[in-house]
Symmetry: C2
Subunit: 388 residues, 2 copies
C-alpha cells in the first residue's frame, strides 16, 4: 500500500484517454479527515505550469480536501486558458466531494505547450471519483496513473510512533523533465496543522529531493504535496515529524534516481570537511553538473582529473578550500591525494550500478551530498529522438 | 600565415615524441622585438596547471620573449615537480634565446595528472629552436603542434591600419577539456606596452572566448596570450586595438566552435531586450548549459518548451523579466510568443549546421550572446570511451 496506508484516505487511478497507449493517466487522492492539513514544495522555475500556480493559492489557504493529477500533458506555457482548465478540474472534484474548489490541489505532468483535452479530463475525474477506494489496488492504480517514462511505480509506506505515512512519486530525477517532471504525493494520519506540516516538509525536501540533481534544472511542474488527515489521533513533535518526512522523501528520492532514464549508474557525491553545508552541497552540485564527469562514469572511467577540475570551478566565495589539499575517493580508492595523483586508478571497480565519489576539502567540519546519474548514449537517444 | 605574419616573429613546430602517433607536439614562438610586450587571459579554475601559474608570474613581469607550448600532457595536478618541469622548459628557451627565464611563457595541453617526459620535451625545444622560421611552413608547423583532438589547425591573419595580427588556436570549445583545453597565441607588430595590451585584450576575450560555452566549465589549462613586437612602428588607439583583437579573437573562437568534438550543430543563442548585458549573457548561458536543449538540437527538434524552461531557471535577481512576455525565435520562426505557443514548429528548418536561438525578454535594451554546440551520441562516445 502507499497513499491509503494512513487512516483517512481514499485513492484511485483511471485511464482518461490522455495517453495514446491507453495506460492509466489520471489519479485522485481524497483526504476524508478529520483534518485536511496540507503542505507543499513547488518548482522554483519562473516558468511554471498552471497547476503549480493553482497549488500555491490552495496551499496558502491551508486546507486541502483532495489532489487530482494527470500525466501526458503538463498544462505548462498555456496561459490564462491553461489556468482556467486547472480551475475547472478543481471545480469538478469540489462538486463531487462537496468541498470548495480552493481546497482541491491539481498537478500535471507531460508535454509542455499543449492544452489539456478537457472533455477527457473531466470524464476521467468522474470515473476516478467513482472508483475511489482503500488498499493495494487503489494505491497501485493511483501510482501508475502519474507515470510517464518511469519503468515502474515508486511507492512507500512507513510507521513512526504509531503514525502512518504513505507516498507515491513519479519522475526520473530530472533526467528528462519534459516528460518526467517530479510529482510526489505523501499522506499521513498524523495530527498536525498545515503550518507545522509545511515547517516539517521544507527541511525534509531540502535534504532529499533537492539533493537529486541529474539535469541541473527544475522543471516547470515539479510538485511535492503532503496531506495530513489526523486519523491516527497522534501528534508527533516537529522534530520527529521532520525526521519521518525525511525518511519518506529519501526513500522516494532514491527510487527516482534508480529509475532515471537512460542511466547506467546512480552516483552519490559526498563532500566532507567543507566550511559549511552550503559549501559542501555547492561543490557536490558542481561535480554532478559536469558532463565530462558524467560521461566518464558512463564509460566506467575513474577520471579524477575531471572531478578535481570541476571542484576547482566553484568560486572561493562559495566554498573556501585549498585545491592542493583536496582528496578524491572513488568507490573507496583514494585516486587523488592532496590535489595530485593518489592510488592506482586500476584499483577502482566501477562495474556496479552505484558509484560513490567522496571529496575531502580539508576546510572544515561540514558535509553535504548530491545524487546524480551518468550521461549515457541512452540519455541522448531518449532526449534527442523525442519530439514534443 | 599566422603568427609570423606580423613583423618580428619566428615560429616552429616539431615532433618531440610526446604524442604516440608521432604528430608534431611542441611549438615555439619567438618575439624578436624591438618590443617584447605581452598580455594574457588564463583559466579562472582554482585547479590550474603548472604552466598557468608560471604564465601569471611572467605576465606580471610584463616582458615575454617567447612562448613554448606542448600537446599530449597538460602538466596539471602535478604539484611542485610539475612546476619545476615548467621552469626547466623556460630556462632552456631562455638559454637558447639569451633572455631571462622569467621572459618565457609556457603552455601545455593534454592529459591531467601525468608528468611531462622532460627528456623528450627538452630535446624537442632544442629541435624547435633550430627550426625557427618565418612564413607559411613555420606557422603551420606551430599550429599543428598544439592540436589534440582538433581535426584541423585554427589560424588567422588580419590587418588593421597598417598593423598586422596573426594567431593560432587549438581546442574544441570546451567540449572535451581534458584533451581539448583552449590555447590561443596571438601576435601583432603594433607598438604597445604590456599594460595597454592587457587592457585591450581583456574586453576582446570577454566578448569572444568567454562567450563560447560548450561545457559549462573552464579547463585547468586555458590560456590566451598576445605578444606585441612593435615591428610595424605604428601605435593604435586603445579603442582600435580592442577592436582589432576582438576581430582576431572572434575569428578564432568561431573556428573552435565549428570544430567542437562530436557536435553536429553550432548554436548561437542571442538574448535581446534584456535589462543589462550581464542579464542577457546569463540567460543565454543558462540555455547553453541545458542538456535537454542541447539534445533536442542534436535531434533537430525545435523544442521551445525546453528553451523557455531553462530561461525560467535564471533567478530574477540576475535577470529581471516577465516570463509571460518572453518570445523565442528558432532559425527565424517565432515558435514561442509571450511565453506561449507561437508559430507552427513544423516551419522550423534545423537541418543546417548553424542554429540560431533568439530570445526576447522584453525587459530592456541590452543584448548578449553565447555560442554553444549540441549534445550528441558522438560527444558521449568521445568522452566516455576515452581513458585518461
Amino acid at each position: 500500500m502507499s497513499v491509503t496506508y494512513p487512516k483517512g484516505f481514499r485513492a484511485s487511478g483511471v485511464s482518461a484517454g490522455l495517453r495514446r497507449n491507453g495506460n492509466p493517466d489520471l489519479a485522485l487522492i481524497v483526504n476524508d479527515g478529520p483534518l485536511r492539513s496540507a503542505a507543499g514544495v513547488l518548482t522554483s522555475n519562473r516558468v511554471f505550469a498552471a497547476p503549480v500556480g493553482w497549488c500555491r493559492e490552495v496551499l496558502a489557504g491551508g486546507v486541502a480536501h483532495a489532489v487530482v493529477a494527470n500525466s501526458a500533458c503538463a498544462n505548462a506555457c498555456t496561459g490564462p486558458e491553461g489556468l482556467a482548465d486547472t480551475r475547472a478540474e478543481a471545480a469538478l472534484v469540489a462538486e463531487l466531494e462537496d468541498c470548495s474548489q480552493g481546497e482541491v490541489l491539481v498537478a500535471s505532468t507531460g508535454i509542455i505547450g499543449e492544452r489539456l483535452e478537457m472533455d477527457k479530463v473531466l470524464a476521467g475525474i468522474h470515473a476516478a471519483h467513482a472508483q475511489l477506494g482503500v488498499g493495494a489496488v487503489a494505491d497501485e492504480a493511483a501510482s501508475r496513473s502519474i507515470m510517464t517514462t518511469d519503468t515502474h511505480p515508486k511507492t512507500t509506506e512507513m510507521d513512526f510512533d504509531g503514525v502512518r505515512f504513505g507516498g507515491i512519486a513519479k519522475g526520473a530525477g530530472m533526467l528528462a523533465p519534459q516528460l518526467a517532471t517530479m510529482l510526489v504525493f505523501i499522506t499521513t494520519d498524523a495530527v498536525v496543522e498545515s503550518a507545522d506540516l509545511q515547517q516539517a516538509l521544507a527541511p525534509a525536501a531540502d535534504v532529499t529531493f533537492s539533493r537529486v540533481d541529474s539535469d541541473a534544472c527544475m522543471s516547470t511542474n515539479d510538485t511535492v504535496i503532503v496531506l495530513a488527515s489526523g486519523g491516527s489521533g497522534i501528534r508527533l513533535s516537529g522534530e520527529r515529524l521532520t525526521e519521518a518526512l525525511s525518511a519518506v522523501c529519501a526513500d522516494l528520492a532514491r527510487q527516482l534516481v534508480a529509475d532515471a532514464e537512460g542511466s547506467h549508474h546512480d552516483v552519490l557525491i559526498t563532500v566532507n570537511h567543507a566550511s559549511s553545508v552550503a559549501a559542501a552541497v555547492a561543490v557536490a552540485r558542481e561535480v554532478s553538473r559536469s558532463n565530462l564527469v558524467k560521461t566518464a562514469i558512463a564509460g566506467n572511467d575513474p577520471n579524477w582529473g575531471r572531478i578535481l577540475s570541476s571542484v576547482g570551478c566553484v568560486p572561493v566565495s562559495v566554498a573556501p578550500f585549498d585545491p592542493d589539499q583536496v582528496d578524491v575517493v572513488l568507490n573507496g580508492v583514494t585516486i587523488c591525494r592532496g590535489g595530485m595523483i593518489g592510488e592506482d586508478r586500476e584499483l577502482v571497480d566501477m562495474t556496479g550500478r552505484e558509484v560513490h565519489i567522496d571529496i575531502d576539502l580539508a576546510a572544515g567540519d561540514a558535509s553535504g551530498h548530491i545524487w546524480t546519474n551518468d550521461l549515457t548514449h541512452e540519455y541522448v537517444e531518449e532526449n534527442s529522438a523525442y519530439t514534443s
